[in-house]
């Protein structure tokens, strides 16, 4: 009788553990998963960005390369058509000047996005619920290339235009 009981309890535990593991894998790993990381202590700041790129919930917030907090939520503001990012800053970093700026930056060449805070010069510091006014959006590589290309094209045109007008006037639009 005792051994049947052990058997049943053991098998039950095994099957439950197995399904718990499967449940964890199917629900927690894909995007919808709960956040497992980190604490919830600290204070919150918000910042509006024109474009956050592929910034994600949980991405780090850094100052001078040192992690000071993390991205808590990213929402779309349907009035200003901007991304509203809420940051959680760890409690020990409570001396961030309230005219600091925030920018979306990239780790390494292919790394994920993070938010870098550049300190301002103000004597007053951010409080919980503060708002970072100065923001710089994520740099979209395609746009950058487009701009660069456009500069080249216009320079090229200027150069050829100058030559053209020098050699034979009026042929150039």
């Amino acid at each position: 009788m005792r051994s049947t009981r052990t058997l049943e309890v053991g098998t039950g535990l095994f099957v439950l553990l197995g399904f718990a593991a499967l449940f964890f894998l199917t629900t927690q790993l894909p995007t919808s998963g709960l956040k497992l990381a980190g604490s919830t202590a600290g204070y919150h700041l918000t910042a509006e960005f024109d474009n956050v790129g592929d910034l994600k919930t949980g991405s780090p917030v850094t100052m001078a390369g040192v992690r000071v907090g993390e991205v808590e939520t990213i929402r779309f503001d349907s009035h200003s058509y901007k991304a509203l990012v809420s940051l959680r800053i760890d409690p020990q970093f409570d001396k961030i000047p309230d005219d600091s700026d925030a920018s979306v930056q990239t780790q390494g060449l292919l790394g994920g996005k993070y938010i870098g805070i550049g300190p301002g010069g103000s004597d007053t510091y951010f409080k919980d619920g503060g708002r970072i006014e100065l923001t710089q959006s994520a740099i979209v590589l395609e746009n950058l290339v487009n701009k660069l290309f456009a500069t080249f094209v216009s320079k090229d045109r200027d150069a050829s235009g100058a030559q053209g007008s020098g050699a034979a006037s009026g042929s150039d639009k």
Binding site: T11, F14, L17, G18, A21, L29, A37, K56, T57, P60
Partner: protein, 244 residues
């Protein structure tokens, strides 16, 4: 020629076994006993191995990704390699060594001591009462074992990557959740189900067809490990190719 014959034997054996699986399920007690033997008792070794495999992944992955300055992708790298390859394959190899051998020697010894013949004389089908429950137990246990291997491995990778190597914890999990899709998880589950069928089938078959001598049982046990391992790795390649 003998390889062809063994393949044919295996296929016929599988058909006969599948036909007996329904009746075997009608006696869940026997199946539960075998899930306990094959699954619950392999739990420690599978979780321990998973933990170390995860830790190695964390270490190697970190070293590699650091060279490209993208160590935040460690979570993705560890999760995908565990889910899609290491979890199902290593679990199947451990299963073949831990549970497969005991299935083979148990059934082989029943054969050697004429227990199977005695059953047949009493008009009790040994396929139904001895082999099918063991087969089912293995098939059910394998995906569960692989899932636990994956979860423990992930936490092993996190332990090394985040706690020791200093990858950002938020980046580790959020990049992983951003890049792993449900299909990746299912791929691992399907693989481990297939491996479960293959390994259990080989284990019970080589026990059932073992020479009824002490030497024969020993040979059959060795054959189980070798055949299961090779078949697992071969099937892994086929399944990976099919899923890509």
């Amino acid at each position: 020629m003998s390889a062809v014959r063994v393949t044919g034997q295996l296929a016929l054996f599988l058909l006969g076994l599948l036909a007996q699986c329904g009746p075997a399920l009608a006696r869940p007690r026997l199946v539960v006993q075998q899930i306990y033997n094959a699954g619950a008792r392999s739990l420690i070794i599978v979780m321990l191995s998973g933990f170390f495999v995860g830790m190695v992944l964390g270490l190697q992955g970190f070293d590699l990704l650091q060279r490209f300055g993208s160590e935040d992708a460690l979570g993705v790298a560890a999760a995908l390699s565990l889910l899609k390859e290491l979890g199902p394959v290593v679990t199947a190899l451990l299963f073949a060594g831990r549970a497969g051998t005991s299935l083979t020697s148990e059934i082989g010894l029943m054969r050697a001591t004429d227990q199977l013949n005695a059953m047949q004389i009493m008009a009790v089908d040994p396929l139904r009462y001895v082999v099918a429950p063991r087969f089912l137990g293995g098939v059910i246990a394998m995906p569960l074992l692989a899932a636990m291997f994956n979860v423990v491995g992930l936490f092993g990778a996190q332990l090394v990557g985040v706690q020791l190597m200093g990858v950002d914890r938020g980046a580790f999990w959020s990049q992983m959740q951003g890049s792993v899709e449900l299909n990746d998880v299912w791929e691992g589950v399907v693989k481990s189900c297939v491996f479960g069928v293959a390994c259990s089938l080989i284990a019970v078959h080589s026990g059932y067809t073992a020479e009824p001598t002490a030497e024969g049982v020993g040979l059959a046990t060795t054959r189980t490990v070798v055949a299961s391992s090779v078949l697992t790795l071969f099937l892994d390649y086929m399944l990976t190719a099919a899923f890509l």
